[in-house]
C-alpha cells in the first residue's frame, strides 16, 4: 500500500566469485534487475566455505557494491547453496481420500505432500527442496491439480534435494554474521534453471549444466517439472589445477593461461605451437606447449561431461531432453565447450541466456550470473506466493513494518 515494489536480493557464495544481485519486484509482478555486486572469493573450495572470515569479508564487499549500485539497503537475501554433499532423488507419497464423497480437497493435497516429504534421510541431512512433480489419482498419472477431482487415493511424486545440515548451516551462519537475514536457501542448479529456461523449454525437456569454479550443478526438466538434480564437485578450479600440475606453472599463472588460451577441443592449428609467458617486466620467462594445454583442459572437461552423463543415465533421465542442453556458469565461457558437450552427451547444446527479466544488460548477458539472477527470480515467486496468501490487514501490517524498518 505504501511501497508497492519490494527488493529481492540473491546471494551466491561461489568458489571463484561472490555475487549479489538486487532485483526490484513491482506490484504488477514485473521483475527488474537494479543492482549487481561481485567480489573475488577466497575462502570457498568446491562450493563450500572453507575459510569463514575470508568468505565473510568477500560477501561484505559484494553486498556493499550491490547496495551502492541499486541505492537500497539490503536486509535479507536468498542464499544459493551447493556442494558435493547435495543429493537429489524422487520420492512418492500416498494418502487415502477421507471425505465421504471422495472429492479431493486442499487438505488432502497438503497431507499427501507432507507424506512425501517424510523420507528416511541420514540423521544429519536436511531437506532443502521438496518440489512437487505431479499427482496420481487412483493410479492415473500426470495430474497437475487434483483439487476438486474424485478419487479414493492420491499420490504425489516429489523431487527432494537434501544436503548435510552442518555444511548448510556454515553458509547461513556466514551470512547471518553480516547482520543479514536469510529468507531461504536455494540449490544453485535450480536457480540457474529458473533463470535460463522458458516454460516451453521446460515442457519439451531440457538439461541445465552450471559449470562453476568449484562444482558443476545440473538439473533436468521434463514435462514442465523437475525430474532430476545433481552436483558434481568438480569445476573450473580442477581445470586450473590440472594445468598448473601438467604445465608446471604456478596456480595463478595457470588460471591466466586458462582464460587467455584455453579451449575445450584440440584442433590441428594448435599443434606445435607454444606460448611464451613473460614476467612483470615483459621479459619472456617460460614457454608452454599449447597442445598440452588444450589437451589437459579437454580431458578434464570431457570427464566432467561424462560424469554428468553417467549421473543422468543412472537416474534414467536422458531420454526426455528434447529441447537440449543449456550451459551456464563461468565454464560456459570456454571456447567450443558447447561442441565438446555435444560430442559427449550426444544432444544439441547451447549457451543459456537469461530471459523474461529486464534490467542490467551487462549482468543478464553473462552466463556466470545466471545463478544469482535465478535466486532473485525464485525470491520473486516466493514473494508472490506469500502476498497471495496473506490477507489485507496482514498486508498493511507488513508494509508498515517494512517502512519502519527501512527508515
Amino acid at each position: 500500500m505504501f511501497n508497492a515494489s519490494s527488493i529481492i536480493v540473491g546471494l551466491e557464495i561461489g568458489t571463484s566469485k561472490v555475487c549479489a544481485v538486487v532485483g526490484d519486484l513491482a506490484a504488477d509482478g514485473a521483475l527488474n534487475i537494479v543492482g549487481l555486486g561481485q567480489s573475488r572469493s577466497r575462502g570457498v573450495r568446491k562450493g563450500e566455505i572453507a575459510d569463514a572470515p575470508l568468505a565473510e569479508e568477500d560477501v561484505r564487499h559484494a553486498i556493499v557494491e550491490a547496495e551502492q549500485m541499486a541505492d537500497v539497503e539490503i536486509r535479507s537475501v536468498y542464499l544459493g547453496v551447493t556442494g558435493g554433499h547435495l543429493r537429489g532423488f524422487n520420492n512418492r507419497g500416498v494418502h487415502p481420500v477421507v471425505s465421504a464423497d471422495r472429492e479431493i480437497s486442499e487438505e488432502d493435497v497438503q497431507d499427501v505432500i507432507k507424506n512425501a516429504k517424510t523420507i528416511n534421510l541420514p540423521a544429519q541431512n536436511h531437506v532443502i527442496h521438496a518440489i512437487r512433480q505431479h499427482f496420481l489419482v487412483d493410479g492415473q498419472d500426470g495430474i497437475t491439480n487434483p483439487v476438486g477431482m474424485l478419487g479414493s487415493r492420491i499420490e504425489v511424486d516429489v523431487h527432494v534435494v537434501h544436503g548435510s545440515l552442518n555444511r548448510l548451516q556454515n553458509a547461513i551462519r556466514t551470512v547471518k554474521g553480516l547482520q543479514l537475514e536469510v529468507d531461504d536457501i536455494v540449490f544453485n542448479g535450480l536457480a540457474s534453471s529458473l533463470a535460463l529456461l522458458t516454460n516451453e523449454q521446460k515442457e519439451l525437456g531440457s538439461l541445465v549444466i552450471d559449470i562453476g569454479g568449484g562444482t558443476t550443478d545440473y538439473v533436468v526438466y521434463a514435462n514442465g517439472i523437475i525430474k532430476h538434480t545433481g552436483v558434481l564437485a568438480v569445476g573450473g578450479d580442477h581445470v586450473s589445477n590440472d594445468l598448473a600440475y601438467g604445465l608446471k606453472v604456478p596456480l595463478s599463472r595457470a588460471e591466466q593461461l586458462k582464460i587467455e588460451h584455453g579451449a575445450s577441443l584440440l584442433d590441428e592449428a594448435a599443434k606445435g605451437q607454444s606460448i611464451t609467458i613473460s614476467n612483470e617486466l615483459g621479459l619472456p620467462v617460460k614457454t608452454v606447449n599449447l597442445e598440452h594445454l588444450r589437451r589437459i583442459m579437454s580431458l578434464r572437461l570431457e570427464e566432467i561431461f561424462q560424469l554428468v552423463g553417467q549421473g543422468l543415465e543412472q537416474a534414467d533421465a536422458l531420454d526426455y531432453l528434447r529441447a537440449g542442453v543449456f550451459l551456464c556458469g563461468g565454464g560456459a565461457h570456454i571456447p567450443q565447450i558447447a561442441k565438446l558437450a555435444e560430442q559427449v552427451l550426444q544432444m544439441p547444446v547451447s549457451l543459456g541466456k537469461t530471459n523474461s527479466i529486464s534490467g542490467l544488460k551487462s549482468a543478464l548477458d553473462q552466463p556466470e550470473f545466471a545463478t544469482a539472477i535465478g535466486l532473485v527470480k525464485f525470491g520473486s515467486f516466493q514473494q508472490r506466493k506469500r502476498a497471495a496468501k496473506s490477507s489485507l490487514t496482514d498486508g498493511i501490517k507488513s508494509t508498515l513494518g517494512q517502512l519502519f524498518r527501512r527508515v
Binding site: 573450495r45 572453507a50 589445477n241 590440472d242 600440475y245 601438467g246 596456480l251 606447449n289 589437451r295 589437459i296
Partner: protein, 432 residues
C-alpha cells in the same frame, strides 16, 4: 532354566567345525606366531618350522619342526632361499604330516631371507597335497634392507602365489607411513607383526564363527582360489556409539587399502563384521553402504557374526582381491635391483649358479577360461575396448601427485577414483 540356556545360546553364534592350523615359517613367521599365541586363538593348532635350531627353541608353539639336513648342520640357511627350498623338498613328508587333518593352513612368513622365502612355497604345496586350503600371510622387507632382499622377497612371493590358494602380503614399507620418527626399531617390528597377526585373526574369525549372515568356507575358498592374485586385507575395530562410522574411517585409513584405491580396483571384496549382541542392522547397513560406494564394480560378499566378547565393539575384516595385473613395478624393481647388485658386488657364486632354480609351471587354464581369454583378445569395437581399458586403468603408483589447490580439502571420490587428481594422469595420457 531351559529358557535361559536357550537365550544364552542365541547370544553367541555357534562355531563351525573347521580345523585350522597356523604354521610360522622362518624367524619372522615365528615372531608373528608368538604374538598370536600370546593373545590366544582357541581351537587352533600352532606349529613352528625353521632351519635355525635356536629360534625354534625360543618359540612356544606346541609343535616344532626342525628342518635339518647334512647341508645345514643346524646353522640355518644363511639367507639363501635356495638352501631353504632344498631342505624343505627333502623333508616334504614331514611337512605333509604337519598339515594332515587340517582344513585350512595359515602360513606365516617374512620374505627376503632364506627360511621363510624358500620353505613357504614348498609348505603350501604340501598343504595342498593333503587337501587343505593354504593361505599365506607374508611380509616383504623394509626398503632400507637393501635391493637383494627385496628381489628375493618378490621372487619368493611370486613362487608362493603360484602354489598357495591365496597370499596376503603386507609390505613392511607401508608400515613406515604409520609411525613417527621416534618409534623404536623394536616397536616398528612389533607394529608390523601386529598387522599381520590381526589379519590372520580376522580371517580366522570369519571362518570359525557361524554368522547370522553366514560366509561359507567355500565362499572364501572360491574368492581366494579363483583370483590367484593380489589380495589386500584390512582389519579395523572401534567401539562406542559411533562405532560403525569410526570403524569405516579406520578401515579406509589402513595402509593396505591405500585410501580406497584398492577397493576401487578390486574384483571381489569379502567383508566380515563381528559385533556384540547389541549390533544393529542400521550399523551393518551403514558399513555396507560405504563399502558398496567405494567398490561399485566388485562382487561383495558380506558376513556378520555375533560374539559375546564383542559387546560394545565392532570389528570389520575386509579382504579385497583383484585379478593379477601385469606388475610393472615388480619387474622394474627387480631390474633396478639387478643392476645395483652387479655394480656393488663382484660376480659371486649366486649369479653364476647353474640353472637349478625351480621354474613354476604356467597356471593351467580350464577350457572355459581359455575361451574367455581368446574372446577378450578378439573382442571388437573400439568403444568397448576403450571402456574396458578405462575400467581397468589403475593409477600408476610411480609418482606422488600433489593435489595443489586441493591438498587440504576433502577429496572428491567418485566410484573409487579421486577426481582431484588431474584427469590426464588418471587416464595415463602422456604429454611429450
Amino acid at each position: 532354566m531351559n529358557a535361559n540356556a536357550q537365550k544364552e545360546a542365541l547370544v553367541e553364534t555357534p562355531k563351525k567345525n573347521i580345523s585350522v592350523k597356523v604354521l610360522g615359517v622362518g624367524g619372522a613367521g615365528i615372531n608373528v606366531m608368538e604374538l598370536m599365541l600370546k593373545s590366544g586363538l582357541p581351537g587352533v593348532g600352532f606349529a613352528a618350522v625353521e632351519t635355525y635350531a635356536q629360534s625354534l627353541a625360543a618359540s612356544s608353539a606346541s609343535e616344532k619342526v626342525h628342518l635339518e639336513t647334512q647341508l645345514l648342520r643346524g646353522l640355518g640357511t644363511g639367507g639363501d632361499p635356495d638352501r631353504g627350498r632344498a631342505v624343505a623338498e627333502e623333508q616334504l613328508p614331514k611337512l605333509k604330516s604337519l598339515c594332515e587333518g587340517a582344513d585350512v593352513v595359515f602360513i606365516l612368513a617374512g620374505l627376503g631371507g632364506g627360511a621363510g622365502t624358500g620353505i613357504s612355497p614348498v609348505l603350501a604345496r604340501a598343504a595342498k597335497e593333503t587337501g587343505a586350503l593354504a593361505l599365506g600371510f607374508v611380509t616383504t622387507p623394509f626398503g632400507c634392507e637393501g635391493g637383494r632382499r627385496q628381489r628375493l622377497a618378490q621372487a619368493g612371493l611370486a613362487e608362493f602365489k603360484s602354489f598357495a590358494d591365496g597370499v596376503v602380503c603386507l609390505p613392511n614399507q607401508k608400515v613406515l607411513t604409520l609411525i613417527d620418527e621416534n618409534t623404536s626399531l623394536l616397536e616398528t617390528f612389533r607394529i608390523a607383526n601386529n598387522f599381520l597377526a590381526d589379519g590372520v585373526r580376522g580371517v580366522w574369525r570369519l571362518l570359525i564363527h557361524k554368522g547370522l549372515i553366514d560366509i561359507h568356507f567355500a565362499d572364501l575358498a572360491a574368492l581366494i582360489r579363483d583370483r590367484h592374485a593380489e589380495s589386500s586385507f584390512a582389519v579395523a575395530e572401534a567401539m562406542g556409539p559411533t562405532r560403525s562410522r569410526e570403524v569405516m574411517d579406520k578401515l579406509l585409513a589402513h595402509p593396505m587399502l591405500d585410501g580406497g584405491h584398492v577397493l576401487g580396483e578390486s574384483e571381489a571384496v569379502l567383508l566380515s563384521l563381528i559385533g556384540g549382541p547389541d549390533l544393529t542392522m542400521a550399523e551393518v547397513n551403514r558399513v555396507m553402504e560405504q563399502v558398496n560406494r567405494q567398490c561399485e564394480h566388485a562382487q561383495v560378499i558380506m558376513g556378520a557374526a555375533i560374539d559375546e566378547a564383542f559387546s560394545e565393539r565392532l570389528a570389520v575384516t575386509l579382504i579385497a582381491a583383484r585379478k593379477n595385473p601385469e606388475p610393472p613395478s615388480e619387474e622394474t624393481a627387480s631390474g633396478a635391483g639387478a643392476e645395483e647388485l652387479a655394480q656393488q658386488l663382484l660376480p659371486c657364486s649366486t649369479t653364476a649358479r647353474p640353472g637349478s632354480r625351480f621354474v613354476p609351471p604356467a597356471p593351467a587354464l580350464a577350457s572355459d577360461q581359455v575361451q574367455q581369454l581368446l574372446a577378450r583378445q578378439s573382442r571388437g569395437g573400439a568403444r568397448q575396448r576403450k571402456s574396458q581399458a578405462r575400467s581397468r586403468q589403475t593409477q600408476l603408483p610411480l609418482e606422488i601427485v600433489s593435489k595443489g589447490r586441493f591438498d587440504k580439502s576433502e577429496p572428491t571420490i567418485h566410484k573409487g577414483e579421486d577426481l582431484d587428481v588431474p584427469t590426464y594422469i588418471r587416464r595415463g595420457v602422456a604429454l611429450n
